[in-house]
Symmetry: C2
Subunit: 111 residues, 2 copies
């Protein structure tokens, strides 16, 4: 991968996951599809407005699917990762593992 | 990898690469070590102040090394990726590839 496509691709990907809550939304929806209220409770501190907006952006980017569940009263809206969202999750795994190790290093007393 | 360590690790990693210029700095320094002025010219639009600050943060995170080259007059400061910075670059490759594909999809006429 050339340096140019590396940085271009990375900037594009960070545009998709760059919102404060988006990595957490991906993690939650990777566990299982969630209704709006469930997702909001899973992300303490997020406002309804911000969560709606981040979900809408992720829908436009094709990584989140919004489904109105007519079969489950009361009428509920359920969010899930799309196939594309699953590939995004997959591509984030090495970076998440790196970040976890980095955090442990930063917490460890330096020798 | 659990959902919690996924999102925790990801937030930590995004803290390291989250600055506007940091992905580009990683890409440039992965090519080869660069002096401050060379790096600045490689990133059109970055101010001296912002570039200094982002490099200092990356130094503190242990991903960039700053070396004063006494042997090359005039006295020059050279930046390079550390071993840890190289592992970060490696862990970003799948995400960069995903982003590149995503950009192509967004540009393609939808069928």
């Amino acid at each position: 991968m050339s340096g140019q496509s590396f940085s271009g691709g990375l900037v594009a990907a960070l545009g998709v996951i760059g919102g404060k809550w988006k990595p957490l939304i991906i993690a939650e929806l990777h566990r299982r599809p969630l209704r709006f209220g469930e997702l909001r409770r899973a992300l303490p501190g997020v406002s309804e407005k911000v969560l709606s907006q981040q979900l809408r952006e992720m829908e436009l980017d094709g990584v989140v699917d919004r489904e109105v569940c007519l079969s489950i009263p009361p009428l509920a809206v359920q969010y899930s990762l799309t196939e594309l969202g699953l590939t995004l999750h997959e591509s984030l795994l090495p970076l998440a593992a790196w970040g976890e190790q980095h955090e442990l290093r930063m917490l460890a007393p330096s020798g």
